[in-house]
Symmetry: C2
C-alpha cells in the first residue's frame, strides 16, 4: 500500500491508490495483480470515502492482465467507458445527476487521395478484399489516433502504391453513420501532388494500381452509381481546370507533447482580408 495518498492516510482506512482529476473525480490506475476479493474490499471502502468527500466520477483503468477484476468492478456498479486492446476503462458516476462525461470517441477519420499527374491521369487502385474489389478507386485509408490528416494521406498513398506525394488541399469531406460497430465516419477527400511516378503496389491489400485518364475513371459504371464517387470526379476537374478552392492546413498550436495542430480553411478567401488591410479592431 505504498501508493496511498496523503488524503487516504489521514482517513486511516485502507483504500485503492487514486489521483484526483480536474473535474472533481478520482482516477484509479490499477497496475499490480490483486486478488478479486481484496479488490472488492478495498473498492467498497474507497467508494464510501469518495462519496463522503463529494467526489463525482470514479474511473478505474484495468490493464488486460487484470481482467480478473472486471467482474468485481461491474458488480459494484461500474460501467464500461471505453477499451483499447490492452486496457479497459470503467466509470462510476456518484451524483444523482445525469453523467456529463463525454462518451467514447465516436468517429473514424478516413482519407481519400486524389493524386493527379501532369497528363490529367489519376492514381487508382483495386483492393483485394471488400465490396469495392475489382473497382478502380482512389487510394483510401484510416487515419490513426494521433496522426495528422496530411501525414496519414501521404502514408496511405505510399503504402498502397509506392508513390510519394505532397498534400495540396482538402477538396471536400463527408460524414456517414453506422460504418463500423455503430461508429460514424468522416471522409476527407484531398488533392495530392505526386512527387514520384513509378508504381509499386502493396501486395497484401492491393490487387492493382495504375495511372488512369480522368475521363476513363469518370466513365466507370460504379462512379455513376455512387453519389460520393461522382463528386470525386467533379471536384477533381474543378480543382485541375477551374481553380476550385478547398481548405489548406495551417499550424495553430502545439499540444503538451509539442505536436503541432492544424486548422484547415479557404486560404485564398481569407487572404483577401489581409491584402485589403481593412481589419481594424481598435
Amino acid at each position: 500500500m505504498d501508493q496511498l495518498t496523503t488524503e487516504n492516510v489521514v482517513t486511516n482506512v485502507p483504500q485503492l491508490p487514486a489521483t484526483d482529476d480536474e473535474f472533481g473525480g478520482v482516477v484509479v490506475e490499477m497496475k499490480e495483480h490483486m486478488d478479486s476479493d481484496v479488490f472488492r474490499t478495498l473498492l467498497k471502502a474507497s467508494m464510501s470515502q469518495w462519496k463522503l468527500q463529494g467526489k463525482k466520477g470514479i474511473w478505474i483503468k484495468l490493464p488486460i492482465d487484470l481482467s480478473n477484476l472486471v467482474d468485481t468492478a461491474v458488480k459494484e456498479g461500474f460501467r464500461y467507458h471505453h477499451a483499447e486492446p490492452k486496457y479497459l476503462m470503467l466509470l462510476y458516476w456518484i451524483p444523482n445527476t445525469i453523467n456529463p462525461i463525454p462518451a467514447n470517441a465516436s468517429h473514424i477519420a478516413r482519407v481519400g487521395a486524389i493524386v493527379l499527374n501532369d497528363k490529367c491521369e489519376m492514381l487508382v487502385v483495386q483492393e483485394k478484399m471488400g465490396i469495392l474489389r475489382g473497382v478502380w478507386k482512389i487510394s483510401t485509408g484510416i487515419i490513426h489516433q494521433g496522426e495528422d490528416i496530411t501525414v496519414g494521406l501521404t502514408r496511405e498513398v505510399k503504402e498502397e502504391t509506392g508513390i510519394d506525394t505532397e498534400f495540396v488541399e482538402v477538396l471536400a469531406f463527408s460524414q456517414e453513420h453506422n460504418v463500423f460497430f455503430g461508429k460514424s465516419e468522416l471522409l476527407f477527400l484531398c488533392m495530392m501532388r505526386p512527387l514520384s511516378f513509378e508504381i509499386k503496389i502493396q501486395e497484401t491489400e492491393i490487387a492493382a494500381a495504375r495511372w488512369m485518364p480522368l475521363q476513363e475513371y469518370a466513365a466507370q459504371l460504379s462512379v455513376q452509381e455512387h453519389g460520393l464517387r461522382k463528386y470525386i470526379t467533379e471536384l477533381c476537374i474543378a480543382k485541375a481546370e477551374r481553380g476550385y478552392s478547398g481548405f489548406s492546413p495551417f499550424r495553430v498550436t502545439t499540444d503538451s507533447n509539442g505536436n503541432p495542430s492544424y486548422i484547415y480553411f479557404n486560404k485564398g478567401d481569407l487572404k483577401k482580408i489581409d491584402d485589403k488591410s481593412s481589419v481594424n479592431y481598435s
Copy 2:
C-alpha cells in the same frame, strides 16, 4: 443449445452460437447468462473448430451483465477491441499475420457555432466549468455517434442558449491530438444563421450568454493568445463582409437505415463548372 447453427450440428461438437462475418471471421454475441466454466469449455471447443475451418477474426460481444465471462475470454487469448457503457467487444485473431482489423474509433467530432446577428453581434457564452471558465466563447459541443454535424450544431446552440439557428457553412476545421484519453479531435467551425434572438441559458453548464459586438469579442485577451480563436474572428469577418466561401452540405447517399449522408464542399466554386457546362465525359 437451441441456437446451434447448422454448421455446428454437423460437426456434432457443442459450440458457442456464432454467425459468419463478411471478412472470413465469426461473431459470437452472448446474450444469456452462462457459468464461466461452461463458457470456457464451449469456447475452447469452438475455437478448435474455427481454426480447422480457417476462420480469421473471432469476435465476442459480452453485454455488461455477462462481465463474469470477460476474464475467461482474456485467458483464452482474446484482446479488447472496444467497449461502450453496456457491452465489451473482444477479438481473437487466428492467422499468423498482422491483424488488419481497424482499431476502435479514433476521433471525437466537436463543433463550434459562429452565430452572427444583423448588428454584427456574435452569440457568446461563458461555461461554468473547465479551463475556459470566465471567457466569452462561441457555443461548442460534441457531436454524438450517428448525429449529423448540422443537426448537432443546431442542438448545441439551442441547448446552451435557447437560440434557434440554421446551418450556413463550415468555415474551417481543425485537428488536435491527445484531447480525451489519447483520442484525437476534429473541430468544425461553422457559421449559423440565428432564427430567434431571446437568450435562455442552460443553467447546468452555462454561466452566462449574450450577443457581443464582434470587435469586443476580437479584443479579448484570450482571443489574441490562442491561435484557433484568433482564426474564429478572422473567418467570421471574412464571411460577414467579404464573401468567404466555406463548405456547404449536400445529401449524397442513405445508409441501410435510410439515414442521409452529407458531403461538404465549396459550392460556389463547384457550381462554376455546371454553369459553363464544359464537363463532358463522352
